[in-house]
Protein backbone atom coordinates (compact mmCIF):
# COMPACT_ATOMS: atom_id res chain seq x y z
CA UNK A 1 0.00 0.00 0.00
CA UNK A 2 1.18 3.51 -0.63
CA UNK A 3 1.58 3.98 -4.38
CA UNK A 4 -0.04 6.93 -6.11
CA UNK A 5 -2.50 4.48 -7.73
CA UNK A 6 -3.66 3.13 -4.36
CA UNK A 7 -4.07 6.66 -3.03
CA UNK A 8 -5.94 7.79 -6.14
CA UNK A 9 -8.31 4.84 -5.81
CA UNK A 10 -8.89 5.46 -2.09
CA UNK A 11 -9.59 9.15 -2.73
CA UNK A 12 -11.87 8.40 -5.71
CA UNK A 13 -13.99 6.00 -3.65
CA UNK A 14 -14.30 8.62 -0.88
CA UNK A 15 -15.10 11.40 -3.39
CA UNK A 16 -17.91 9.41 -5.04
CA UNK A 17 -19.41 8.62 -1.66
CA UNK A 18 -19.39 12.24 -0.48
CA UNK A 19 -19.62 14.35 -3.63
CA UNK A 20 -21.81 12.08 -5.81
CA UNK A 21 -21.23 9.30 -8.36
CA UNK A 22 -19.83 11.72 -10.96
CA UNK A 23 -17.08 13.06 -8.68
CA UNK A 24 -13.52 12.39 -9.78
CA UNK A 25 -9.97 13.01 -8.56
CA UNK A 26 -7.63 15.09 -10.73
CA UNK A 27 -4.03 16.27 -10.59
CA UNK A 28 -2.84 14.06 -7.69
CA UNK A 29 0.78 15.00 -6.94
CA UNK A 30 3.20 14.61 -4.04
CA UNK A 31 4.26 17.93 -2.51
CA UNK A 32 6.76 16.86 0.12
CA UNK A 33 8.30 13.74 1.48
CA UNK A 34 9.05 14.40 5.12
CA UNK A 35 10.08 11.42 7.21
CA UNK A 36 7.01 11.76 9.37
CA UNK A 37 4.41 12.90 6.88
CA UNK A 38 3.34 12.69 3.24
CA UNK A 39 1.58 15.71 1.73
CA UNK A 40 -0.33 15.36 -1.56
CA UNK A 41 -2.29 17.95 -3.54
CA UNK A 42 -5.29 17.11 -5.73
CA UNK A 43 -8.61 18.43 -6.95
CA UNK A 44 -12.08 16.98 -6.67
CA UNK A 45 -14.09 17.60 -9.80
CA UNK A 46 -17.85 17.19 -9.49
CA UNK A 47 -19.79 18.53 -12.46
CA UNK A 48 -18.87 22.19 -12.98
CA UNK A 49 -17.19 22.47 -9.58
CA UNK A 50 -13.57 21.85 -8.71
CA UNK A 51 -12.23 22.00 -5.17
CA UNK A 52 -8.48 22.13 -4.40
CA UNK A 53 -7.60 19.80 -1.51
CA UNK A 54 -4.62 18.45 0.43
CA UNK A 55 -4.09 14.90 1.66
CA UNK A 56 -1.92 14.51 4.75
CA UNK A 57 -0.93 10.90 5.18
CA UNK A 58 1.38 8.75 7.30
CA UNK A 59 4.16 7.26 5.11
CA UNK A 60 2.82 4.10 3.51
CA UNK A 61 -0.45 4.71 5.37
CA UNK A 62 0.92 3.58 8.74
CA UNK A 63 2.17 5.63 11.65
CA UNK A 64 5.29 3.56 12.40
CA UNK A 65 7.83 6.15 11.20
CA UNK A 66 6.52 9.08 13.20
CA UNK A 67 8.72 10.57 15.87
CA UNK A 68 7.68 10.18 19.50
CA UNK A 69 6.79 13.82 20.08
CA UNK A 70 4.80 14.47 16.90
CA UNK A 71 1.06 14.00 17.36
CA UNK A 72 -0.95 11.59 15.19
CA UNK A 73 -2.82 12.71 12.08
CA UNK A 74 -6.20 12.05 13.72
CA UNK A 75 -5.21 14.39 16.57
CA UNK A 76 -3.93 16.97 14.07
CA UNK A 77 -7.30 16.86 12.29
CA UNK A 78 -9.13 17.24 15.63
CA UNK A 79 -6.97 20.27 16.46
CA UNK A 80 -7.79 21.89 13.11
CA UNK A 81 -11.47 21.50 13.91
CA UNK A 82 -11.13 22.79 17.49
CA UNK A 83 -9.06 25.85 16.47
CA UNK A 84 -11.41 26.55 13.55
CA UNK A 85 -14.24 26.78 16.10
CA UNK A 86 -12.15 29.19 18.17
CA UNK A 87 -11.86 31.51 15.16
CA UNK A 88 -8.32 30.64 14.05
CA UNK A 89 -7.79 30.63 10.28
CA UNK A 90 -7.00 26.99 9.51
CA UNK A 91 -7.70 24.72 6.53
CA UNK A 92 -11.12 23.07 6.93
CA UNK A 93 -10.99 19.28 7.43
CA UNK A 94 -13.01 17.33 4.84
CA UNK A 95 -12.31 13.74 5.78
CA UNK A 96 -10.42 11.68 8.37
CA UNK A 97 -9.25 8.24 7.33
CA UNK A 98 -8.38 5.82 10.17
CA UNK A 99 -5.37 3.45 10.22
CA UNK A 100 -6.17 0.22 8.40
CA UNK A 101 -8.56 1.89 5.93
CA UNK A 102 -7.98 1.87 2.15
CA UNK A 103 -6.24 5.28 2.29
CA UNK A 104 -4.37 4.43 5.45
CA UNK A 105 -3.93 6.86 8.35
CA UNK A 106 -4.65 10.22 6.72
CA UNK A 107 -6.90 13.23 6.52
CA UNK A 108 -8.09 15.51 3.73
CA UNK A 109 -8.22 19.28 4.18
CA UNK A 110 -8.98 22.33 2.09
CA UNK A 111 -6.06 23.71 0.06
CA UNK A 112 -5.64 27.37 1.01
CA UNK A 113 -4.06 29.61 -1.63
CA UNK A 114 -1.06 31.75 -0.68
CA UNK A 115 2.65 31.78 0.08
CA UNK A 116 4.60 30.04 2.84
CA UNK A 117 8.22 30.96 2.00
CA UNK A 118 9.46 33.42 4.64
CA UNK A 119 11.86 35.32 2.40
CA UNK A 120 9.20 35.93 -0.26
CA UNK A 121 6.62 37.09 2.29
CA UNK A 122 9.15 39.51 3.82
CA UNK A 123 10.50 40.85 0.53
CA UNK A 124 7.99 40.70 -2.34
CA UNK A 125 5.92 43.78 -3.20
CA UNK A 126 2.69 41.77 -3.47
CA UNK A 127 2.81 41.13 0.30
CA UNK A 128 3.25 44.77 1.34
CA UNK A 129 -0.33 45.08 2.65
CA UNK A 130 -0.05 41.63 4.21
CA UNK A 131 3.14 42.60 6.07
CA UNK A 132 1.42 45.66 7.56
CA UNK A 133 -1.40 43.46 8.93
CA UNK A 134 0.49 40.33 9.89
CA UNK A 135 1.63 41.34 13.39
CA UNK A 136 -1.92 42.13 14.49
CA UNK A 137 -3.29 38.99 12.82
CA UNK A 138 -0.66 36.76 14.44
CA UNK A 139 -1.41 38.27 17.87
CA UNK A 140 -5.10 37.52 17.39
CA UNK A 141 -4.47 34.01 16.05
CA UNK A 142 -2.20 33.15 18.99
CA UNK A 143 -4.72 34.50 21.52
CA UNK A 144 -7.44 32.36 19.94
CA UNK A 145 -5.27 29.23 19.84
CA UNK A 146 -4.45 29.77 23.52
CA UNK A 147 -8.15 30.21 24.32
CA UNK A 148 -9.23 26.77 23.05
CA UNK A 149 -10.88 24.90 25.97
CA UNK A 150 -8.59 22.02 26.96
CA UNK A 151 -11.48 19.82 28.08
CA UNK A 152 -12.67 19.12 24.53
CA UNK A 153 -9.23 18.33 23.11
CA UNK A 154 -7.72 14.93 22.37
CA UNK A 155 -4.87 13.84 24.63
CA UNK A 156 -1.77 15.95 23.97
CA UNK A 157 1.70 15.88 25.53
CA UNK A 158 2.33 18.49 28.24
CA UNK A 159 5.60 20.42 28.04
CA UNK A 160 6.24 23.45 30.23
CA UNK A 161 9.46 25.47 30.53
CA UNK A 162 11.20 23.17 32.97
CA UNK A 163 10.29 20.08 30.89
CA UNK A 164 11.91 21.71 27.86
CA UNK A 165 15.13 22.63 29.68
CA UNK A 166 15.44 19.05 30.90
CA UNK A 167 14.61 17.52 27.54
CA UNK A 168 17.02 19.60 25.46
CA UNK A 169 19.77 19.47 28.06
CA UNK A 170 19.59 15.66 27.98
CA UNK A 171 19.88 15.70 24.18
CA UNK A 172 22.80 18.17 24.35
CA UNK A 173 24.69 16.15 27.00
CA UNK A 174 24.21 12.95 25.00
CA UNK A 175 26.31 14.44 22.14
CA UNK A 176 29.24 15.13 24.50
CA UNK A 177 30.24 18.08 22.32
CA UNK A 178 30.72 20.85 24.90
CA UNK A 179 29.64 24.31 23.75
CA UNK A 180 30.15 26.98 26.44
CA UNK A 181 27.42 29.27 25.02
CA UNK A 182 24.82 26.50 25.30
CA UNK A 183 26.13 25.60 28.75
CA UNK A 184 25.63 29.23 29.82
CA UNK A 185 22.13 29.29 28.32
CA UNK A 186 21.05 26.16 30.20
CA UNK A 187 22.44 27.53 33.47
CA UNK A 188 20.82 30.95 32.94
CA UNK A 189 17.44 29.43 32.01
CA UNK A 190 17.45 27.32 35.19
CA UNK A 191 18.38 30.30 37.37
CA UNK A 192 15.83 32.65 35.84
CA UNK A 193 12.86 30.40 35.17
CA UNK A 194 9.61 32.41 35.36
CA UNK A 195 6.52 31.23 37.22
CA UNK A 196 4.73 28.82 34.85
CA UNK A 197 1.61 30.27 33.23
CA UNK A 198 -1.72 28.44 33.31
CA UNK A 199 -1.30 25.70 30.67
CA UNK A 200 -2.92 26.31 27.28
CA UNK A 201 -2.97 24.72 23.84
CA UNK A 202 0.38 25.67 22.25
CA UNK A 203 0.91 25.38 18.48
CA UNK A 204 4.60 24.63 18.96
CA UNK A 205 5.90 25.81 15.57
CA UNK A 206 4.09 29.10 14.87
CA UNK A 207 6.37 31.05 12.46
CA UNK A 208 6.78 31.98 8.79
CA UNK A 209 7.16 28.76 6.85
CA UNK A 210 4.19 27.26 8.66
CA UNK A 211 1.75 30.10 7.93
CA UNK A 212 -0.04 30.62 4.61
CA UNK A 213 0.02 34.31 3.78
CA UNK A 214 -1.89 35.91 0.90
CA UNK A 215 -2.08 39.55 -0.18
CA UNK A 216 -4.45 40.26 2.75
CA UNK A 217 -2.21 38.71 5.38
CA UNK A 218 -2.61 35.52 7.43
CA UNK A 219 -4.72 33.01 5.48
CA UNK A 220 -4.09 29.79 7.40
CA UNK A 221 -2.05 28.31 10.27
CA UNK A 222 -0.47 24.99 9.25
CA UNK A 223 1.81 22.31 10.71
CA UNK A 224 0.26 21.39 14.02
CA UNK A 225 2.52 18.36 14.48
CA UNK A 226 4.31 19.84 17.52
CA UNK A 227 1.15 21.03 19.29
CA UNK A 228 1.13 20.41 23.03
CA UNK A 229 -0.17 21.72 26.32
CA UNK A 230 2.23 24.36 27.56
CA UNK A 231 3.06 27.99 28.28
CA UNK A 232 1.51 30.60 25.95
CA UNK A 233 4.75 32.62 25.99
CA UNK A 234 6.45 29.73 24.15
CA UNK A 235 4.46 30.40 20.96
CA UNK A 236 4.89 34.20 21.18
CA UNK A 237 8.66 33.88 21.69
CA UNK A 238 9.17 31.22 18.99
CA UNK A 239 7.81 33.69 16.43
CA UNK A 240 10.52 36.11 17.64
CA UNK A 241 13.52 33.73 17.44
CA UNK A 242 16.04 35.29 15.04
CA UNK A 243 16.24 32.10 12.94
CA UNK A 244 12.65 32.88 11.82
CA UNK A 245 13.26 36.55 10.98
CA UNK A 246 14.93 35.52 7.71
CA UNK A 247 17.53 38.28 7.89
CA UNK A 248 15.14 41.08 8.95
CA UNK A 249 16.56 41.17 12.49
CA UNK A 250 15.28 44.67 13.28
CA UNK A 251 11.72 43.31 13.27
CA UNK A 252 11.62 41.07 16.33
CA UNK A 253 8.30 39.48 15.39
CA UNK A 254 8.99 37.09 12.51
CA UNK A 255 11.02 39.66 10.57
CA UNK A 256 7.86 41.72 9.95
CA UNK A 257 6.71 43.34 13.20
CA UNK A 258 7.42 44.77 16.63
CA UNK A 259 6.74 42.89 19.83
CA UNK A 260 4.72 45.70 21.49
CA UNK A 261 2.21 45.60 18.66
CA UNK A 262 1.96 41.80 18.79
CA UNK A 263 1.43 41.80 22.57
CA UNK A 264 -1.22 44.56 22.30
CA UNK A 265 -3.13 42.58 19.65
CA UNK A 266 -2.76 39.41 21.75
CA UNK A 267 -4.22 41.09 24.86
CA UNK A 268 -6.98 42.84 22.87
CA UNK A 269 -8.05 39.45 21.48
CA UNK A 270 -8.43 38.01 24.98
CA UNK A 271 -4.90 36.77 25.69
CA UNK A 272 -2.97 37.57 28.85
CA UNK A 273 -1.21 40.96 29.11
CA UNK A 274 2.53 40.36 28.63
CA UNK A 275 5.44 42.82 28.53
CA UNK A 276 8.32 42.33 26.08
CA UNK A 277 10.60 41.34 28.99
CA UNK A 278 8.22 38.40 29.71
CA UNK A 279 9.14 36.99 26.32
CA UNK A 280 12.95 37.09 26.77
CA UNK A 281 13.24 33.84 28.75
CA UNK A 282 11.25 31.94 26.15
CA UNK A 283 13.14 33.48 23.24
CA UNK A 284 16.42 32.33 24.82
CA UNK A 285 14.81 28.91 25.30
CA UNK A 286 13.72 28.97 21.63
CA UNK A 287 17.16 29.88 20.25
CA UNK A 288 18.80 27.23 22.42
CA UNK A 289 16.19 24.65 21.39
CA UNK A 290 16.75 25.32 17.68
CA UNK A 291 20.53 25.10 18.21
CA UNK A 292 20.16 21.69 19.88
CA UNK A 293 17.79 20.60 17.09
CA UNK A 294 20.45 21.57 14.51
CA UNK A 295 22.97 19.48 16.47
CA UNK A 296 20.47 16.59 16.32
CA UNK A 297 20.18 16.95 12.54
CA UNK A 298 23.98 16.87 12.27
CA UNK A 299 23.87 13.86 14.60
CA UNK A 300 21.85 11.99 11.97
CA UNK A 301 24.83 12.46 9.62
CA UNK A 302 27.39 11.48 12.25
CA UNK A 303 25.63 8.20 13.07
CA UNK A 304 25.14 7.41 9.38
CA UNK A 305 21.33 7.53 9.65
CA UNK A 306 21.27 10.27 6.99
CA UNK A 307 24.65 10.61 5.25
CA UNK A 308 23.62 13.60 3.09
CA UNK A 309 25.84 16.68 2.74
CA UNK A 310 22.87 18.77 3.89
CA UNK A 311 22.77 17.00 7.28
CA UNK A 312 26.55 17.36 7.62
CA UNK A 313 26.52 21.06 6.75
CA UNK A 314 23.73 21.92 9.20
CA UNK A 315 26.21 21.24 12.02
CA UNK A 316 27.92 24.46 10.92
CA UNK A 317 24.74 26.44 11.53
CA UNK A 318 24.70 25.81 15.27
CA UNK A 319 26.92 28.88 15.71
CA UNK A 320 24.04 30.99 14.34
CA UNK A 321 22.08 30.11 17.46
CA UNK A 322 25.13 30.81 19.61
CA UNK A 323 25.43 34.39 18.33
CA UNK A 324 21.65 34.85 18.74
CA UNK A 325 21.98 33.73 22.38
CA UNK A 326 24.88 36.11 22.96
CA UNK A 327 22.92 38.99 21.41
CA UNK A 328 19.99 38.12 23.68
CA UNK A 329 22.24 38.03 26.77
CA UNK A 330 23.67 41.44 25.84
CA UNK A 331 20.11 42.75 25.41
CA UNK A 332 19.21 41.57 28.92
CA UNK A 333 22.12 43.61 30.24
CA UNK A 334 20.84 46.72 28.47
CA UNK A 335 17.24 46.34 29.69
CA UNK A 336 18.13 45.53 33.30
Amino acid sequence: MGTANDIEKGLSDWAREHYGAAAAIAGLRRLSGGASQETWAFEIEAGEKSEPLILRRAPGGTAAARSSEAITLAIEAALLEATDKAGVRVPGVRHVSPPGSALGEAFVMKRVAGETLGRKILRDAEFETARARLTQQCGEALARIHSVPLTGLPKLPTSLGRNQIDKYEAVYREFDLPRPVFELAFAWLKDNEPEPADPVLVHGDFRLGNLIVDENGLAAVLDWELAHIGDPREDIAWLCVNSWRFGQTENRVGGFGQLDELLDAYAAAGGARYRPADIDWWEIMGSLKWGVMCMTMYGAFKTGADPSVERAAIGRRVSENEIDLINLFEGLGRHA
Binding site: R179, E183, N242, S308, V309, I326, N327
Partner: protein
Protein backbone atom coordinates in the same frame (compact mmCIF):
# COMPACT_ATOMS: atom_id res chain seq x y z
CA UNK B 1 55.25 15.26 0.84
CA UNK B 2 54.60 17.49 -2.12
CA UNK B 3 52.02 20.21 -2.29
CA UNK B 4 51.22 20.70 -5.94
CA UNK B 5 48.31 21.01 -6.15
CA UNK B 6 47.77 22.03 -2.55
CA UNK B 7 44.75 20.96 -0.54
CA UNK B 8 43.38 24.48 -1.03
CA UNK B 9 43.81 24.28 -4.81
CA UNK B 10 42.09 20.87 -4.94
CA UNK B 11 39.12 22.13 -2.95
CA UNK B 12 38.90 25.22 -5.16
CA UNK B 13 38.91 23.00 -8.24
CA UNK B 14 36.11 20.78 -6.89
CA UNK B 15 34.08 23.84 -5.85
CA UNK B 16 34.52 25.36 -9.29
CA UNK B 17 33.35 22.09 -10.90
CA UNK B 18 30.24 22.06 -8.67
CA UNK B 19 29.44 25.73 -9.34
CA UNK B 20 30.16 25.94 -13.05
CA UNK B 21 29.52 22.43 -14.39
CA UNK B 22 27.53 20.16 -12.07
CA UNK B 23 24.97 22.56 -10.63
CA UNK B 24 23.70 23.81 -13.98
CA UNK B 25 23.03 20.23 -15.13
CA UNK B 26 21.22 19.15 -11.97
CA UNK B 27 17.62 19.68 -10.96
CA UNK B 28 15.44 19.58 -7.86
CA UNK B 29 16.90 17.83 -4.83
CA UNK B 30 20.25 17.08 -6.48
CA UNK B 31 20.73 20.75 -7.45
CA UNK B 32 19.92 21.77 -3.88
CA UNK B 33 22.45 19.32 -2.45
CA UNK B 34 25.09 20.51 -4.96
CA UNK B 35 24.60 24.06 -3.70
CA UNK B 36 24.92 22.86 -0.10
CA UNK B 37 28.08 20.96 -1.09
CA UNK B 38 29.58 24.06 -2.70
CA UNK B 39 28.78 26.11 0.43
CA UNK B 40 30.39 23.41 2.57
CA UNK B 41 33.60 23.68 0.54
CA UNK B 42 33.53 27.46 0.93
CA UNK B 43 33.35 26.87 4.70
CA UNK B 44 36.37 24.55 4.53
CA UNK B 45 38.36 27.18 2.58
CA UNK B 46 37.52 29.89 5.12
CA UNK B 47 38.42 27.55 7.95
CA UNK B 48 41.84 26.74 6.45
CA UNK B 49 42.59 30.42 6.28
CA UNK B 50 41.07 31.68 9.54
CA UNK B 51 41.14 28.86 12.08
CA UNK B 52 44.81 28.90 13.14
CA UNK B 53 44.80 32.56 14.21
CA UNK B 54 41.24 32.43 15.61
CA UNK B 55 42.03 29.35 17.67
CA UNK B 56 45.23 30.90 19.01
CA UNK B 57 43.24 33.93 20.20
CA UNK B 58 40.61 31.64 21.72
CA UNK B 59 43.35 29.71 23.57
CA UNK B 60 44.85 32.91 25.01
CA UNK B 61 41.45 34.10 26.23
CA UNK B 62 40.53 30.74 27.74
CA UNK B 63 43.87 30.45 29.53
CA UNK B 64 43.39 33.92 31.03
CA UNK B 65 39.75 33.29 31.96
CA UNK B 66 40.47 29.92 33.57
CA UNK B 67 43.93 30.86 34.91
CA UNK B 68 45.28 27.74 33.22
CA UNK B 69 48.34 26.89 31.13
CA UNK B 70 46.57 24.02 29.36
CA UNK B 71 47.34 24.27 25.61
CA UNK B 72 44.53 22.08 24.22
CA UNK B 73 41.56 24.28 23.24
CA UNK B 74 39.16 21.32 23.42
CA UNK B 75 40.21 20.60 27.02
CA UNK B 76 39.99 24.29 27.93
CA UNK B 77 36.45 24.47 26.53
CA UNK B 78 35.47 21.36 28.49
CA UNK B 79 36.85 23.00 31.61
CA UNK B 80 34.91 26.22 30.90
CA UNK B 81 31.70 24.22 30.41
CA UNK B 82 32.30 22.49 33.74
CA UNK B 83 32.88 25.85 35.46
CA UNK B 84 29.60 27.20 34.03
CA UNK B 85 27.64 24.06 34.87
CA UNK B 86 28.82 24.10 38.47
CA UNK B 87 28.08 27.84 38.72
CA UNK B 88 31.66 28.92 39.41
CA UNK B 89 31.40 31.05 36.28
CA UNK B 90 28.30 32.91 35.08
CA UNK B 91 27.12 35.96 33.12
CA UNK B 92 28.52 38.27 35.82
CA UNK B 93 32.05 36.82 35.50
CA UNK B 94 34.30 39.56 34.05
CA UNK B 95 35.43 38.68 30.54
CA UNK B 96 33.12 35.68 30.02
CA UNK B 97 30.58 37.21 27.66
CA UNK B 98 33.30 39.13 25.79
CA UNK B 99 35.24 35.90 25.29
CA UNK B 100 32.20 33.94 24.13
CA UNK B 101 31.21 36.74 21.77
CA UNK B 102 34.68 36.95 20.18
CA UNK B 103 34.85 33.17 19.80
CA UNK B 104 31.38 32.95 18.28
CA UNK B 105 32.07 35.82 15.87
CA UNK B 106 35.23 34.02 14.72
CA UNK B 107 33.31 30.73 14.41
CA UNK B 108 30.49 32.32 12.39
CA UNK B 109 32.96 34.13 10.16
CA UNK B 110 33.99 30.63 9.08
CA UNK B 111 30.59 28.88 9.26
CA UNK B 112 28.03 31.47 8.01
CA UNK B 113 29.61 34.88 7.38
CA UNK B 114 26.33 36.20 5.93
CA UNK B 115 24.21 35.39 9.00
CA UNK B 116 22.07 38.32 10.22
CA UNK B 117 22.99 37.78 13.88
CA UNK B 118 26.62 38.50 13.05
CA UNK B 119 25.68 42.03 11.94
CA UNK B 120 23.69 42.50 15.17
CA UNK B 121 26.72 41.39 17.20
CA UNK B 122 28.99 43.87 15.40
CA UNK B 123 26.80 46.85 16.37
Amino acid sequence: MHDAPSAKELIEAVKSFLDKTAMVQLQGHAAFHARVASNALATVLREMEQRPAAEARERDRLQALLKSDEADVGKLNRKLCEEIRTKRVDLSTPGLLTHLKSTTIDQLSVDQPGYSGLRTAAR
